[in-house]
Symmetry: C2
Subunit: 180 residues, 2 copies
């Protein structure tokens, strides 16, 4: 688990990305910035920083930050009850994002898979997102993504977010940290 000081460090680094991109958060939102290390204790390599603007029974909007070369590990959003699973639109706002989804594997793709977890990255159809570019990931579709060397900011528009149902390829991952 992240120490309090690692959390604070990651939070202020996240805020510096938002400031650079002119994205303004209320002080309440700044307090609620989420630092996800997925229980892997290797935040700089595999992790994600985010703030949730709204998450209701119909739609969800978040702002995601990736540090330079930071990777959000491979996962999918499965069907839950009557719903097909979460659909996600990723819109790059700043930096560069390499997104990988199910489909024809891309030869010589640009991201580098975190070596400690290489068995848990199985899809490699590449979509490169620059600022203004977006891509919509269908429900129940494996995906992972990595920032370029400047880091990245991604706006996520989606159906309702229920992180606790996400299925990660890496069995060591716990998405929702146990509360102490």
């Amino acid at each position: 688990m992240l120490s309090v000081s690692d959390y604070q460090k990651a939070k202020s680094k996240t805020m510096s990305y938002f400031e650079q991109a002119n994205i303004i958060l209320t002080s309440e939102e700044q307090e609620k910035i989420e630092i996800a290390d997925f229980g892997l204790n290797d935040l700089e390599r595999q992790g994600l920083e985010l703030v949730t603007y709204i998450n209701n029974e119909h739609y969800c909007a978040k702002e995601l930050v990736l540090f330079p070369l930071q990777t959000c590990p491979e996962h999918k959003h499965p069907p839950i009850g009557d719903s097909l699973g979460k659909t996600e639109t990723f819109r790059c706002r700043y930096g560069k994002v390499y997104l990988y989804v199910e489909g024809e594997p891309s030869i010589d793709f640009k991201a580098s898979i975190p070596s400690s977890s290489k068995d848990y990255y199985t899809v490699s159809h590449e979509i490169e997102l620059h600022p203004g570019d977006q891509f919509t990931i269908p429900p129940n579709t494996l995906h992972w993504f990595q920032a370029g060397e400047e880091g990245a900011i991604v706006s996520e528009f989606s159906t309702t977010s229920r992180d606790e149902y996400d299925i990660f390829t890496d069995p060591h991952i716990t998405r929702v940290p146990k509360k102490t």
Copy 2:
């Protein structure tokens, strides 16, 4: 209807707002910027500029621009079939927005109602949005909004958008311009 040259002028003014706020659009999106004058031929006073990032069967995300003191006229999003009607989250990104919804009327509210249409503004419960502030408007609820003196940019996160069903208080308004 807007002339081609008025449309081009409004579009480049809209782009200058996005540039000022570091919001990047693809050239395709720039081409598709929508200038809504609601058939009132008074764009600077009553109108709205927007770009739609995504609008699928579940959710919608748009970026709205308001010129200084420009007003989006009073309307609501009614139930359609099995759905309750559009729910809208407005997040102020730049400038200042005065939003009015059903509820306790606000005394001495800050916006000034366009005098030519004053009978068609009936709700006056005021919500003032500064950058980083947001408010969610329930379905089937009358609302209108006006920018402050600098203009404004608002991110809209919502359920599916079906503009053709919107109900405007002013009977002179046609939301979806007839195609020629």
